[in-house]
Symmetry: C2
Subunit: 149 residues, 2 copies
DNA sequence: GTAGGTGCAAAGTGTTTGCATATAC
DNA sequence: GTATATGCAAACACTTTGCACCTAC
């Protein structure tokens, strides 16, 4: 379930409510829906590809413009998982992190309660207000390890 | 002190020893020295700018090519700290992580012993061999918070 | 009606590559 | 001498922007 500050996306498209002067356009609904359905890590290109299937006239700049918007209003999070471009996912209430296989590119999500404590410690120690947290591990999964001996 | 698998850089340039067939060129020495002296987070452009001051003929592609080499042989680590490009730093024996101010761009490093435990847990749970670890926090430092009220 | 969003094509970044020349070994 | 690095310019991939048209409010 998504329900954040300025624009919120509910279960079905038509329930989306703009709360900030951001206009509700068919493109925005479509993009949000695809991100939601894609659950997980999609880059702009993939998002564009899928969007085009439903609305062949949609443009890549609209994708990028709206990703930036969604990011800004906190609906979507941007991740750099080490391949030269970004992945996008809906912001979820529970923090979760990423484990990436450098062999096959597979991305595994995991949760990590310790992070919360760490975050507080670091915030306090540096007098920061921390708004973003990310833990990133990379390595090789068991099947990729087998392949390379 | 830096002393890793295939090529090692010691205190002064001339002590550098290639251990892997990688040739020791003046450009490589220069780049490594600048990364070392720059201590911290320099992007390729900044590295290039400084290198040009000492060797006006050095080219940006040499910078990139060698950054890739250094990364591959484990001398240097690449970090994406969220501004559309990478930062590079010498690999150090102690794991450290990054706290970035979204207001002024300042990067603070911190260490975090808990991460080691986390890493082991995640590796075990997913049957991974984890080779890279990164914890990234972003937010606002105290002076940027004041500015924006 | 108007501020704001879209599509398109063009421009920007950051990064990589092909090739002839130069250099470490 | 030969394999490997370099410099240069050209190509790339990802992302942003300018502008005329369109649409949500």
């Amino acid at each position: 379930m998504v329900c954040i500050s300025k624009m919120s996306a509910a279960k079905t498209d038509n329930e989306v409510t703009p709360l900030h002067g951001e206009r509700v356009t068919s493109q925005r609904l479509l993009i949000l829906r695809i991100i939601r359905e894609g659950e997980g890590h999609m880059d702009a290109e993939e998002l564009y590809r899928r969007a085009t299937e439903e609305d062949p006239r949609i443009s890549l700049s609209t994708i990028y413009r709206n990703l930036r918007l969604f990011k800004r209003i906190g609906l979507v999070e941007e991740r750099y998982l080490g391949e030269g471009h970004h992945h996008y996912e809906l912001r979820r209430p529970t923090q979760h992190h990423h484990l990436v296989c450098l062999g096959c590119g597979r991305v595994i999500e995991f949760e990590c309660p310790q992070t919360e404590q760490m975050r507080e410690d670091v915030a306090k120690a540096n007098d920061f207000e921390i708004t973003d947290t990310e833990v990133y591990f990379a390595g090789y999964c068991s099947s990729c390890r087998k392949k390379r001996g």
